[in-house]
Symmetry: C3
Amino acid sequence: MIVLATDFGLTGPYLGQVKAVLARQAPGVPVIDLFADLPAYEPRLAAYLLAAYALWFEPGDVILAVVDPGVGSDRPGVVVEADGRWLVGPDNGLFELLRRRAGVVHAWQLDAAGARPTFHGRDVFAPAAARLATGFFPEGEEATLSTRSGWPDDLAAIVYVDHYGNAMTGIRASTLAADAVIEAGGAALRRGRTFSDVRTGDALWYENANGLAEIAVNGGSAARTLGLATGSPVIVREP
Amino acid sequence: MIVLATDFGLTGPYLGQVKAVLARQAPGVPVIDLFADLPAYEPRLAAYLLAAYALWFEPGDVILAVVDPGVGSDRPGVVVEADGRWLVGPDNGLFELLRRRAGVVHAWQLDAAGARPTFHGRDVFAPAAARLATGFFPEGEEATLSTRSGWPDDLAAIVYVDHYGNAMTGIRASTLAADAVIEAGGAALRRGRTFSDVRTGDALWYENANGLAEIAVNGGSAARTLGLATGSPVIVREP
Amino acid sequence: MIVLATDFGLTGPYLGQVKAVLARQAPGVPVIDLFADLPAYEPRLAAYLLAAYALWFEPGDVILAVVDPGVGSDRPGVVVEADGRWLVGPDNGLFELLRRRAGVVHAWQLDAAGARPTFHGRDVFAPAAARLATGFFPEGEEATLSTRSGWPDDLAAIVYVDHYGNAMTGIRASTLAADAVIEAGGAALRRGRTFSDVRTGDALWYENANGLAEIAVNGGSAARTLGLATGSPVIVREP
């Protein structure tokens, strides 16, 4: 299975051309759209989201991940193996949290010689993903993935707002006490199990289906009600 | 074929994770996005839309349908067989109109024990859809689908606005006289065969490609011109 | 491979029903979404975009292209063969630039008798695309594709704005001098190789990954910064 997690947008020709390359070079392999709206220009925010979702996939799955404001500059492209999952994308911090959370990590650098400088997703990353998905091991010597030692293990900020207006933080719910309070947009929110644990119109936080602490309003939009957007800070208070 | 009709949105990780489950558990079965923007929180409006579209599919096809404001509460999940089409989703009225219009209907209850309370689409409905699509019959005793006897057979309201701004009503065009007038947004609209039956900028109603009475403006947006949104009432006048 | 390039929108039931027809009638053939947001009602603008992208696909690939304000009127549907690529859609100018740029072009007319007047994409074009993709040659006598002799070979206007806010022109970059200046939204832009050739917040133009002259702002939205939308004129100054 090849999983696409990018900031390319669903509309427009980018995902389609990536999928055309995959259909030609990895025929018969299912291709799944996971995210087409990772935080554009923000590999740091995307890194926390990606770590929560990529490890839900299975060993052997290939995740093509692109948030790449530096495309065409000299940042290298990489293949990463993290506990058996393959990741392909730019080496700009996007894989930092995966690297920390996975037990076993290997990396290889990709050669972008000859690729169009504006579209490595199609011309470099998709062919690499297709090779991995069809059983080829990365070529060349192992490389060292760059690190971002200043980034925290969990990020007290909104990393994704979904189309209901639910706002995911970069914090793993498992790291928080049961009675932890999350302050966001001026409100102090208590933990629930699901939306219906509070009255319609009320806000709460809960562990979402991939382990992140997520803020929602029952029957409404937390993003609108609380004024939250990707990048908004939150504060955790543990009694 | 597995058909997805949800309010999950196309962006975000929800559809992708559902499709990953389907790719693993029903390999080789085509998966089609029909709606990712059914009216959120509104199973009643969605029920009229779903009935018009689901019966266009063929016996043996499986439709995974989710508009589920009560996820995590104790509303049951169901499998429904309606004239040979399989439907999987919450038993909250979403299948009410299908139930009435289909000749033969059977239902089975789904077991959600152990599923994450916030994502039954991935953890309960997708595995059930995969089993049906790969030839397994539902397990357990037949159940009785809940009913919504107060809902009309056709709904005089907008149930969907498409990206051109065309507004579908919950009324089957076949139930209306040829000279019926639909009042919507303050205008009285006559029936046409297609957009080009009126001048550019003029509004009309016609039978859409799935049998619903639909309101459009030739070369423009009926939603914007007439101020229509999902849930807006319309009035039918039959001379 | 069947490639979809339409103005149907990704949401809503249109693409899904087209894909359901393709899954039934061309089982196993990969279907790729290239554009679901071609300029609605504007076959002329779409024609320049389509020409740049369609010829990136390979001989034998089938492109179902629909921007069709005249659906239900008497404009004919056509199958076009352009240098081995198959195209299916309305004969309303959408294929004009492909016709001019391809070396060898053949055309056949499609029979729409019995189709729903509002949805030829599903009822006429999808079955035709499925037949071509499964190896059937078009039926009947060759026809003559209509022409639009007044349209220029390259269009000095924005033909597409992507979700980053990058604005594609209808001009092939290969027709411009290296030091050509493009005036758009009141700014005079010089050519770069990629975004990172200018400072964050600055605008430039470059040859995009499919050969069009494209306007962007490094780390920002050219559409918003320069006030550009589909159809906005640009001016080329060659020193």
